[in-house]
């Protein structure tokens, strides 16, 4: 591998952008294809497929036998609400390999004592979210119960194609939320991407159990996406 390819590979990964290295295993010849350039690459269909699955692998192509090294960003978990559930959800997320960030403008909630070892931003979503680079590799969870905080954050997450979006609240609460967001111009198709009531059904009652139910649902979405064709074009769309 040429050092410049290795350097671009590392800098793309650093910037949370997906990238594929195509290696001709017979000659050792290599090139690096950024996610944004997949659409104009001669091996477009096979590269797009690998980008979607996030899996590396050997392929027989018009260019011969090539190995595709696929790098997609580590998933991040962004939570609005420095609440009880988040106190458990954040460490579980970290254990599962997510970069976890909690956003809550209410400084009484978002204190370091309540969240040791977690990145907590005590700002409103409009200020806190843009620098986080929320993207397809992000799971977003809204837990404040406060529309002033959760609604703009959900709108932000929906516009960025997060692989998982969930919001705390009963069916009734969620129905009201859907009405509000529709008035702001979001479509039914977009709003149907929000998991609410949040979490898989394990009869969770305590905040810790709800955190488990949420993390299980996030994991389910993550793995479904790897194993199956996504229902909606996501990365492929972003790349074309």
């Amino acid at each position: 591998m040429k050092l410049d390819i290795l350097q671009s590979l590392n800098s793309e990964r650093q910037a949370r952008r997906a990238v594929i290295v195509v290696t001709d295993v017979a000659s050792g010849k290599q090139r690096l294809v950024k996610a944004a350039d997949v659409a104009k690459d001669p091996l477009r269909p096979v590269l797009a497929e690998h980008l979607r699955s996030g899996k590396s692998g050997m392929e027989q192509t018009a260019e011969g036998r090539v190995f595709l090294t696929v790098h997609v960003p580590a998933p991040q978990l962004v939570i609005t609400g420095a609440v009880h559930i988040s106190q458990v959800l954040a460490p579980i997320g970290k254990l599962l390999g997510y970069d976890v960030t909690i956003v809550d403008p209410r400084t009484a909630f978002a204190s370091i004592e309540r969240f040791p070892d977690v990145k907590v931003i005590a700002e409103w979503p409009d200020k806190a979210l843009p620098p986080l680079g929320i993207d397809h590799y992000t799971a977003f969870v809204a837990l404040t119960h406060d529309p002033k905080i959760d609604d703009p954050a959900l709108t932000h997450a929906l516009a960025r194609d997060c692989f998982y979006i969930g919001a705390l609240g009963s069916r009734k609460t969620h129905a009201r939320r859907v009405e509000r967001l529709k008035q702001q111009g979001l479509t039914d198709a977009e709003l149907s991407r929000i998991h609410a009531p949040i979490g898989i059904n394990i009869g969770a009652e305590s905040p810790a159990e709800i955190a488990v139910a949420i993390m299980a649902q996030i994991t389910e979405r993550l793995r479904e996406e790897v194993d199956a064709e996504p229902a909606q074009p996501s990365i492929a769309k972003a790349a074309s």
Binding site: L3, K55, T69
Partner: protein, 107 residues
């Protein structure tokens, strides 16, 4: 979509930037039960220091030896390890699978 081997490729770059000669080994194919998934990396320097894993310990020694060759002559190599291949290689995978490992020099 879980990213793996995050620090290994960074280490490969850092080692090279410090003037060390470096090879990168990548699991490119697996059959049967294999200890590490396709895409797993091992980075090796000219003194045989290494970081990462391609098999969870079974064949790393052999990969490092081959990598030293690759570092010396610059030509990439495809290695294969498996229980059925004991004549070609003194090492094998106890789990019964077969893996193919591509070894290349970082230039």
């Amino acid at each position: 979509m879980l990213a793996t081997d995050n620090d290994i490729l960074k280490a490969a770059e850092d080692w090279r930037n410090k003037g060390r000669a470096v090879a990168l080994a990548t699991v490119v194919e697996t059959w049967g039960s294999a200890p590490r998934p396709v895409g797993s990396n091992l980075v090796i320097d000219e003194e045989g220091n290494f970081l990462g894993s391609v098999s969870g310990g079974c064949v790393e020694g052999a990969v490092v030896t081959e990598a030293l060759d690759v570092i010396e002559n610059g030509k990439p190599k495809m290695l294969e390890f498996g229980v059925a291949d004991e004549t070609a290689w003194k090492v094998g995978l106890s789990c019964g699978g077969t893996i193919r490992v591509f070894v290349e020099k970082v230039e």
